[in-house]
Symmetry: C2
Subunit: 336 residues, 2 copies
DNA sequence: ATGAAAGCGCTAACAA
DNA sequence: TTGTTAGCGCTTTCAT
């Protein structure tokens, strides 16, 4: 039976009560007689009534919907953040509309359509500083940044402990005896890259090694950029016995370039990545890397967003998420 | 200025017309005087009015929203399908709510909450036969299967030409001179695995090679299952000079197991994968594989779904998507 | 071309 | 405890 058109009033008529009583039953209000509740519930059952959430939103003025904009939906890290956010949102009775905003134009269109027009109650922005999309944010919607620290107190943010992550990687390499460590970064416009670099610099200085800007080359997160970065280092005869790549894809690209240049990993050059992407342990050599937990980041972000919606008076928070060194086979003790 | 509360009536008052006229302007109705249109538009501008989509749904009885349920959001293939579907939906003025349904329980809960209660107008189901979730489908919502053929005429479906894909892989291996070809499949409950196997069997028979069930072992799409499959083949002394893995992850696992057993790829054993996952070309050896185009599948699925919603009287369709052989380095000419 | 009235399916506020 | 009346912000008649 098609129940698309059965309303609260049909149920009311069938049960011989007012539609308001039906509403009370649906909303589990206390103030309803056990007898009538039974009557109503069996009418609901009989007619196969399904509450219309849209009408409820309309009446309550709340949509119980969150929006999440990501540069894309396919990167493992982004996808995991979204999955985590969706999970947490659902636990709290919210829904998540996620959309891919490859560029700022799409981003502002989505802000207009989802936040302004469809009245999502809050917004999660993954990678907010990418092509300055954070300037297109809605004015009056609770927002949380994922993957970057927000500098204002009106917004929560969830990000990695990137400086510590950089340290972790470098400390590991130092312990293996490396003194000449190159780094392949992501785009410098992204906070996290600069923070990882701060960790790199700080850790080297602790070991009395001067920071050499020639040893850092900027990539764009793709394997190909890691590959080219190594070619660049090699072509310019820059010395290094180890590489810290700011993500696993670039690490993989770097390893390929190293091999093509006749250097083996980890015997000649150690390589450490970042992310612990799905097949990192199946790569050859198995990738030593810094693991992050994007699913938890997504959960935390959704939790903060819901808190911002429901308790706007409370202080905004900035959650720094932990990272972890995963030892595998792409790094080894330095020897000349 | 906070425009959350500005309605059509505020605009009407400000422009000195009825709210109905404002509605006409918003909806670009013909029947409105140029002068009044200007007045209304400037009032909209001045007040920063944003139409409330929820109220519009309420009045029109349409939500312009599609739902998409996937076993997870993180698998590259699923994520790409979703991205494609979202892209296409947006082009057509719809939105997509995607949700991860790891199990049937979650699946039916989502059907209830999104389709029944939130009145999404149509449903995309990725991998519908997984743990029999297709039995939990809503009765009166247009639905399209993605990744499996639907056997009924009430539903569209979009799937790969899996039999051809199997053939493509085997034909390639045969051309290289292999006669003894093992296969690692996905879970047999999934249509696509059986279809790929049909292709495998048919192609072998064309070459007068008898199908040997011992040479096929069932995996579960994970790299680990590919790894174990090879260990199983080896332990049971089953002969093979090539392996067709039904996805790239299992291919990668298989290669690792082969290496650990002292066999090199492709010198001793050729391995062909399936999917052409992101880093397939950066794997060592670069993976020969069967490429699919999940983004296009997602687009096609959304297109069919919207067609089913807007033209229910038309025949349902079953779109078989093409696959492509990508030659790289993990397969080579057979020699004893 | 424009406006008035009714209604989409629900909840909130008040009355009984 | 239950019912009545008003909306929520829009669109759809149907008048004017």
């Amino acid at each position: 039976m098609n129940n698309e058109r059965i309303t609260i009033r049909d149920v009311a008529a069938s049960a011989g009560v007012s539609h308001q009583t039906v509403s009370r039953v649906i909303n589990k209000s206390e103030r309803v007689n056990e007898e009538t509740r039974i009557k109503v519930e069996s009418a609901i059952e009989k007619l196969g009534y399904q509450p219309n959430a849209i009408a409820r939103f309309m009446a309550k003025g709340r949509t119980k919907t969150l929006a999440c904009f990501s540069p894309n939906l396919t990167d493992y890290t982004y996808a995991s953040i979204i999955e985590g956010a969706e999970f947490e949102a659902r636990q709290a009775g919210y829904f998540l509309m996620s959309a891919s905003a490859p560029d700022t134009g799409t981003f502002s269109m989505l802000v207009e359509q989802l936040v302004a027009s469809r009245r999502t109650e809050g917004l999660l922005v993954i990678n907010p500083f990418l092509d300055n999309r954070h300037t297109q944010l809605p004015q009056f919607s609770p927002t949380v940044y994922v993957g970057a620290r927000s500098s204002v107190n009106t917004m929560d943010s969830v990000f990695l402990d990137d400086e510590e992550a950089g340290c972790l990687a470098i400390r590991h390499l130092l312990e293996l005896g490396h003194r000449s460590i190159a780094m392949i970064t992501g785009p410098f416009v992204e906070d996290c890259c600069r923070d990882r670099q701060s960790g790199y610099v700080a850790c080297l200085e602790d070991a009395d090694i001067n920071f050499d800007p020639k040893k850092v080359v900027e990539g764009d997160w793709t394997a190909t950029s890691g590959y080219k970065a190594v070619q660049h280092l090699l072509a310019n005869k820059i010395q290094f016995s180890a590489i810290f790549a700011q993500n696993d894809r670039m690490a993989v690209g770097a390893i390929r370039a190293l091999r093509e240049a006749g250097k083996s990993v980890p015997e000649d050059v150690s390589v450490i990545g970042f992310d612990d992407m799905p097949l990192a342990s199946y790569y050859d050599p198995a990738l030593t890397t810094i693991r992050q937990d994007p699913f938890s980041m997504g959960r935390e972000a959704a939790r903060l967003l819901i808190r911002a919606i429901e308790n706007p008076e409370k202080q905004r928070r900035h959650a720094k998420m932990p990272v972890e060194l995963i030892l595998r086979k792409s790094t080894a003790v330095f020897h000349t």
